[in-house]
Symmetry: C2
Subunit: 521 residues, 2 copies
Amino acid sequence: MAASVFGRRARLRAIGLTAFALSAMASGMALAQSHDRASIQAQVAQRHDTAVKALQEWIALPSIAAEDLNAKQGAEHMAKLAREAGFQHVEVVDTGGKPGVFATLDAGAATTVGVYFMYDVKQFDPAEWSSPPLEARIVDKPGLGKAMVGRGATNQKGPEMAFLTALHAIRDARQNMPVNLVLVAEGEEEIGSPNIGKVVLRPDVQTALKKSIGVFMPMGLQDPEGAVTVNLGAKGVVELELVADGKTWGRGPSKDVHSSLKAMVDSPAWRLVKALDTLVSEDGNTITVEGFPKPAPLTAEERAQIAKSVGARDEAIARRTLGVPRWIDDLSWEKANERLVSQPTINIEGLVGGYTGPGGKTVLPHRAVAKIDMRLVPPMTRDGAVEALKAHLRKRGYGDIAVNVSGGYDPTTTDAASKLIQAQVAVLRRSGVEPLLWPRLAGSYPGFVFTQPPLSLPAGHFGLGHGGGAHAPDEFFLIESTNPKVQGFDGAVMSYVDYLYELGAAGSGTAAKQAGEAAGG
Amino acid sequence: MAASVFGRRARLRAIGLTAFALSAMASGMALAQSHDRASIQAQVAQRHDTAVKALQEWIALPSIAAEDLNAKQGAEHMAKLAREAGFQHVEVVDTGGKPGVFATLDAGAATTVGVYFMYDVKQFDPAEWSSPPLEARIVDKPGLGKAMVGRGATNQKGPEMAFLTALHAIRDARQNMPVNLVLVAEGEEEIGSPNIGKVVLRPDVQTALKKSIGVFMPMGLQDPEGAVTVNLGAKGVVELELVADGKTWGRGPSKDVHSSLKAMVDSPAWRLVKALDTLVSEDGNTITVEGFPKPAPLTAEERAQIAKSVGARDEAIARRTLGVPRWIDDLSWEKANERLVSQPTINIEGLVGGYTGPGGKTVLPHRAVAKIDMRLVPPMTRDGAVEALKAHLRKRGYGDIAVNVSGGYDPTTTDAASKLIQAQVAVLRRSGVEPLLWPRLAGSYPGFVFTQPPLSLPAGHFGLGHGGGAHAPDEFFLIESTNPKVQGFDGAVMSYVDYLYELGAAGSGTAAKQAGEAAGG
């Protein structure tokens, strides 16, 4: 499902989400909690080569759940990295699938913060890369600087390594760790986190996370202009296949037969087309599944957030980059974005049936498949959406069409007023970035496991820095920035330092006050 | 389009088309024209090893139009084979595509017969074969005997080599060639004969063919029970792709984008589904394209032919072999076959759009394709059907959906009373086979170029012998039969000897009379 988060993020970034420039993080900025920031920054600089090398070593060990590759080694390496960064309790957790990692760092602080990591990466084909995907070479990126190219560089090892480096630097500078940390890491993010609950909801892990003010995932959030969007939630998603099959149907052939037989034999491919036809309106844009939960309308605040964010984004660039001449219903840029945030979707990811090679082949296929993703908004749930779809197909006489769900999440929502989010806003503002609050990411990530009961915690992403190519060839993470609007690796590390001190202060109630004074000053 | 003929033929054979057993072709059978059949048969036996070796050499040289392989070499080899078999004029014909071959054999006979060859073969993947597809090894086929396994063995080099061997044997036995021959061969049959008219309708070729009583293609027509169906025509076919594309549509993306954007971006894949939905009835079986020509109803004679043929075929075996539990509308075996013969179809050969690999991928595809074949019956034409489809899509608002036709033929019909067909019936009956006349093959072949103006000739297929696996791995042609109901290679050769003498007599008006006397005697 990470495709959703990062694909979407890459997209937002690519279409020039904001026009705000990020001022370089000044050493003289207002500090949220009493600590020697300069000393920490010096340690970050001193550790630079070590951290880059550690990131390269991590990239050299790809864990790919879909390929059953290096799960055990990846979890052990993850545990080692956590241990070295100062987590006192570190444990590989059996999930029945690929193992997770649970770790705690007790700083004796008043505030506890949850951190969500993935140690797995997306599949890759080295033939498509301009630089070997496991070698993590440093290459020049015109307009950006020197970037590390490798699978997992930005999704998610680069930002995660930057976060761990922040912990090293705070310790090396002999500064107090401002928060206690609870780390949960999984090795199945790229296959839809089927066992995330086995880690997060294990009673002792749950108890540890319950103490936290929320959970965040490190992420290089800056677009090339330095702008940062703070997402207040994400749509849910269900990925599934609709399969029409002669055998299940009891009509048509149970293997591909010669197409001339169409005159006397029913066609599962036509059946799939007819069933699909009932799911959406004539224009393909409105869900017509009976019993599908109606989406909650946007609030005035959400509309305002969208209007503000949209005003900072260039529609023409978005259209050109996506190759989309007009939005659904010829909507305005703002209304199209309201639709993006508020409306559920049923999308055809792929159609596969019969002969799919070049030219034609005269077969009557026994089976046809539509690969579907449904994006969900509150109050929909993954299970509710699947049930509604199945009931609809049954009611319309297509009960034989198999609904094979491969993964998915419920929608997730985090209050903008939560400390987790407000600390992000404070850190960004102090660094000269006016963050763009966004009501709901149209993509999806497994935040639901944190935001829903029993945990009911705020959850989000945070981090400066910049990367690209998640799930694609030549994935990269910026190491040394020559672009004054965007942070390199050390700047990303410092964003976590600042966020942790801000959270420590926010949690104890002091930093927010200090920040308010600083802003007012 | 050969897929249609041979796929269908293989199918008919596989479902046990007839229950009639073929008596072994007796040496003492009534002869249609004065000639020393025993002497010819002796030459066939003597030539056996030479002919088998020549067939192996031919198979070793595959001409594959789709892969641009060996067209020139294939045409030259075809010309050489014709020359060696006694054609006095042999010429490679430039068509703009792959070359054809035109050859004439003037025997000073009263009757001229057209012969249609293809020298090209279907693509193949050696990895799928149990025996190398170009080595043409002789292997044991339980229940049949020794068969040659190789690409083109039955489709069409085996039967064609048997026909050429008949010419050799007649000459070697110093017997009079009973007919003049006009041979047209093409190298693009497997891609739908796009240039067949460039060979057949070249003025001098046309003039030569005009003198013939009709055109036949050699083919191993016996099913494993020895039964033979005589087809009196074939459906037409159009193969095409319906393509929904964001760029052409002017809506949706012009490249695949992240699926979360479905909420604001139109989907070409949904558009394809909606357009497809308008083409057929809810059950997928009745064409709802407005303006699509209505098929001519079956005649009483056609119904009788179907009833007779169907009575000789085992429905249970057909259902089991095809894996089809019930026919369209739960029709009876006979009514289903009437539908097979009489109804046009729109079939989905394949659906291809977006992500087609294992699992899912969260994309909104910019393009989706339905591979379609339409089967046509008189009075439909290929061009008429395509025009009706295009007009329908325009009228329904889907004018942006591209209709990319890759090939096709008009339907073709040959009168059962024609000499070409009656000679087949006579030869079969004298060999103890009651031929099953079939009004219209549901598959397709380029017979239209012969049966339509300007030539307006009868056209069909003929030959004993047995093969299988056309277009599939392990294609074979039976060389030495251990099954008394089915002829091996030499028996196939003798079927052409007998057919040529029958045609010579039929053409001159004497053989039919003799045959009638023999049958009455």
